[in-house]
Structures are given as structure tokens and as C-alpha cells.
């Protein structure tokens, strides 16, 4: 305790300044750690796992003749992926001793959710109009948009992955509808696995 006491004894105004600076320094450390950790909190192995389930879903969906069953399979896959993503993000954040819904986490969600909501709404419209063939392109495109925008708060490979999804979605919108499952297998399966591995290797997990 010798050092701070000595500083404090020197003048009247100093203790407050010292204290404020100390608080400011601690806040800076905390915010930097939080930002740095959430920067790399994208789950690599989680992405690989999501990619694997998507490949299975694509194989199952491609074998269906009934469009309703096709849709149910992909919706189930979406729910499963969300669950895996939430679990993986939580795990990685806990490993780094971070609150999951920190300031950075909130920012991420706020940019991730709007394109996803648009995707859900458009899906509903397309299903009601019987335009199921438009779904793969729409999903890939809007998921890619969500990843690009939210990826601004993450490491550089994340927005790149989003852009790849957007490109795949754009291709899907202009391709014969039979390609839909293959393109989704490429996107939700292949891209997730590829970028998941890159993230896991570079940013641990």
C-alpha cells in the first residue's frame, strides 16, 4: 500500500484524479478484453458441426418428392443450426470468461437479426404463393447478408464467409430449381465447414 498512500498524501485534488484514472484504466482493460474476445467468439467447430448437419439435411431433402416434407426438413435443420450456434457461442464465450450478451454480443445480434427476419417473412410469402423454388436462393442470400453485416464486429474471415453465401444465393436465384439442394449443401454445408475449420485453426475452437 505504500505507493498509493504516498501519492494521495501529496495534494488535495490528486486522490480523485488518481482514482478516476485507475477506474478508467480498469474499464479500458475490461472493454478491450471484451471486444477482443467477442471479436473471435465466432465458433469454428460449431460452424463445422452446422455444416455437417446441413449436408445430412440436404441429402434427406433432395430425396423428398413432397414439398411440405422438403420444407419441414430444412426448417428442422434451421432450428438445429440455431441451437448448435447458440450453444457453441455460449461455450466459447464462457471459455473466455465473457458474458454472452455483452455490448459486443448485442451489436452482433442487432445486425444479424434484421436480414434473418426479412428472410423468414419472404419465406412465408413464397410458401403461400407456392414459389418454393425461390427459397434456397433467398435463404442463402439473406443468411449471407446477416453474416456480412454482423461480421463487421468480428474477425476478417467472417464477412468473407457471408459474401460467399450471398454469391451462392445469387447463383441459386438464377439457376434451375433442381439445383437448390445442391447449392444449399454447398453453402450451408461446405462453406460452414470450410470457414469453420479456418476459424477453429486460427482462433481456437
Amino acid at each position: 500500500m505504500a505507493t498509493p498512500r504516498r501519492h494521495i498524501a501529496t495534494s488535495e485534488g490528486e486522490p480523485i484524479a488518481l482514482r478516476d484514472r485507475a477506474i478508467d484504466n480498469i474499464r479500458f482493460i475490461r472493454e478491450t478484453m471484451e471486444r477482443a474476445a467477442s471479436f473471435t467468439a465466432v465458433p469454428g467447430w460449431g460452424g463445422v458441426a452446422i455444416g455437417c448437419t446441413a449436408l445430412v439435411a440436404a441429402a434427406l431433402a433432395a430425396a423428398q418428392t413432397d414439398p411440405v416434407r422438403w420444407l419441414v426438413i430444412w426448417l428442422a435443420e434451421a432450428v438445429l443450426s440455431l441451437g448448435i450456434a447458440a450453444w457453441a457461442i455460449r461455450r466459447k464465450a464462457q471459455a473466455a470468461n465473457l458474458p454472452v450478451l455483452s455490448g459486443a454480443g448485442n451489436k452482433f445480434l442487432r445486425s444479424f437479426l434484421p436480414p434473418m427476419l426479412v428472410g423468414a417473412l419472404l419465406s412465408l410469402v413464397f410458401v403461400r404463393a407456392g414459389e418454393m423454388a425461390l427459397l434456397p436462393g433467398t435463404w442463402l442470400l439473406l443468411y449471407g447478408t446477416a453474416v456480412v453485416t454482423a461480421g463487421a464486429f468480428s474477425v476478417g474471415v467472417v464477412p468473407v464467409m457471408g459474401a460467399c453465401f450471398m454469391a451462392t444465393g445469387a447463383v441459386a436465384l438464377f439457376c434451375p430449381p433442381e439445383w437448390g439442394d445442391a447449392l444449399m449443401a454447398f453453402g450451408f454445408g461446405g462453406l460452414h465447414i470450410l470457414f469453420g475449420l479456418i476459424i477453429a485453426r486460427r482462433y481456437g475452437g
Binding site: 500500500m1 505504500a2 498509493p4 478491450t32 474476445a37 471479436f39 473471435t40 486460427r202
Partner: protein, 128 residues
């Protein structure tokens, strides 16, 4: 607030080449509450904090996180490296060199000491 150049002894050693071993020896002499000038500087504190939350970070990721320039980051990273607070590994990604940093045990201990010091300052001001 102490800024860059607050650790003249270490910096003189730096010009004489790699002095990591000496520096960690020097570090021992600090009493627990003496301010560690080496990580007190803002950007260096930022580097150490960012690395405390990640095992490895590349030069470019650190630059993005800390919103700084190539020159600034490399100067301050080198100071921390020479004090043995961080280590780096270099590799190639295609044709581009890739530098990654990691916090050492000494660096983590230094950050913890620094945090303790700041907490002690706050407590001392409150107790008064």
C-alpha cells in the same frame, strides 16, 4: 499519465538487441504496487488486454481491434516482446507473411499485477 518511453532502462537494452531474459529479470525487482510502466501505456495495455482474451491474435486482427496503425502496433508489440510479455510466431499464408502474438505467463502476471495496483488505488482513495 506516463506515456511512451516511460521505461528508459528497458528501451536502452532494446537497442542492444534481444534482451528478453534480462528484462524478465528486471521485472522481478518491481515491488507489487510499483507501477509497471511497460504496460501502463495505452496501446501496450490494449495489446496485453486483447491477448489476455485470446490465445493467439494476428497482427492484422490486433490492428483492427485496437484501431491503430501498422507502425504504432509494431513498435509497441516489439517492446512487449522484448520484455518477454508476449511472444510471436511467424508463418506464411500463401505469399503473405503472417505474424501472430500470444501473451506469456510473465505478461499475464504483469496484467494481473497492474489490475491489482489499479484496484488498490481505488480502494485507497475510498478509504481516505
Amino acid at each position: 499519465m506516463a506515456r511512451t518511453g516511460a521505461a528508459p532502462r528497458r528501451e536502452r537494452e532494446r537497442s542492444g538487441g534481444r534482451a528478453a531474459a534480462n528484462d524478465s529479470g528486471v521485472q522481478r525487482e518491481l515491488s507489487p504496487l510499483e507501477l509497471d510502466r511497460l504496460i501502463h501505456e495505452r496501446l501496450r495495455l490494449g495489446i496485453v488486454s486483447a491477448l489476455a482474451a485470446n490465445e493467439w491474435l494476428s497482427f492484422n486482427d490486433l490492428k483492427r481491434m485496437l484501431d491503430t496503425t501498422d507502425g504504432n502496433l509494431s513498435v509497441h508489440a516489439r517492446k512487449l516482446e522484448e520484455a518477454n510479455y508476449i511472444t510471436c510466431r511467424k508463418s506464411f499464408e500463401g505469399r503473405y507473411p503472417r505474424t501472430e502474438y500470444r501473451l506469456t505467463a510473465a505478461g499475464r502476471a504483469a496484467l494481473e499485477r497492474y489490475l491489482d495496483h489499479m484496484e488498490a488505488l481505488i480502494r485507497a482513495a475510498r478509504d481516505r
